[in-house]
């Protein structure tokens, strides 16, 4: 006779039926699904930082300020916070799934690509907006697939559409396109993701 347990997983006399076994397996696999709470933090952090940078750069440009790009220095503390917080989360994570590793690799590769684009942007006269928006589309939509969260998939589509718009529109529109992209690609899905978890 097989051992069996009650709902609190303590020993009982009742044997577990095959159907109960399958139900238990299904329930535990659902339990192991990735906690999405932490993901929304990064979308909101970078959503606000980039949105503020685009808005400020646009205003400074309209005021004929000579170096509006200086507002992008705002991203330096965001990088530091991101690296520090992700390392801290990695050390204290109570469970690690294969999807966690995929997500980490995806966003780390993305970070390296963005860093490379910014570092060598001078080679193409910093005409980077369209390329950055297209690069943003990939990890955003793939994260949506990993988290099974459609607003992020649509966020990736918004980045892609804004990337196309960025290729077609004049320089004066680039900050507006960037702002629309970051609000629709990071901020809206980020808040929806946070609210989804609050309601679970």
């Amino acid at each position: 006779m097989f051992e069996s347990y009650s709902n609190t997983m303590e020993p009982t006399a009742q044997p577990m039926t095959p159907q109960e076994s399958l139900d238990l397996i299904t329930s535990m696999i659902r339990q192991a699904q990735r906690n999405v709470q932490q993901s929304s933090y990064y979308f909101l952090l970078w959503g606000w930082v980039v949105a503020l940078s685009h808005a400020s750069a646009y205003v400074l440009l309209m005021m004929d300020y000579r170096r509006p790009y200086l507002v992008w220095l705002l991203t330096i503390p965001a990088w530091i916070i991101t690296v520090y917080k992700s390392r801290q989360q990695g050390r204290t994570a109570r469970s690690v799934s294969h999807l966690d590793h995929i997500t980490w690799a995806l966003w780390t590769s993305f970070g390296i690509c963005i860093f490379t684009l910014v570092a060598f942007g001078y080679k193409i006269n910093f005409q980077l907006n369209a390329v950055i928006l297209l690069v943003c589309a990939l990890p955003t939509s793939v994260s949506g697939v990993i988290l099974r969260f459609k607003p992020l998939i649509w966020g990736g589509v918004c980045f892609w559409l804004c990337g196309i718009a960025s290729f077609l529109l004049p320089a004066s529109w680039q900050h507006i396109v960037g702002l629309v992209a970051i609000v629709s690609g990071y901020l809206v899905p980020g808040y929806l993701l946070r609210n989804k978890l609050k309601n679970v």
Partner: protein, 97 residues
């Protein structure tokens, strides 16, 4: 004739732990305890049984000054779990409810 279900896996808490570990690369003792709603004593006993059968490995380290037990499923554990699920399916296919 149906194969007898693996008695090591056909127990609620051990099956719950194995199901969780099948979906994860590693999990801490406190995570498993929370997800299975089990007591620390019972979970500890069942984890030892799974480790003795080499279905899982237990890594005992420290986080700061606190002891930390991390569990991982082994290839032998994965094979046993897959066999258990196949045996269950076979049983359910021949005994539909």
């Amino acid at each position: 004739m149906f194969k007898e279900l693996d008695p090591l896996l056909h127990a609620q808490l051990r099956l719950a732990v194995m199901s969780l570990l099948m979906s994860l690369e590693s999990a801490e003792f406190t995570f498993l305890k929370e997800k299975t709603s089990s007591t620390a004593g019972n979970l500890s006993v069942q984890l030892d049984k799974l480790a003795e059968a080499e279905y899982i490995v237990l890594e005992k380290t420290f986080r700061g000054k606190k002891p930390l037990t991390t569990c991982r499923i082994t290839p032998k554990g994965i094979a046993a779990f897959e066999q258990y699920v196949n045996d269950l399916k076979q049983y359910l296919n021949h005994n539909p409810s």
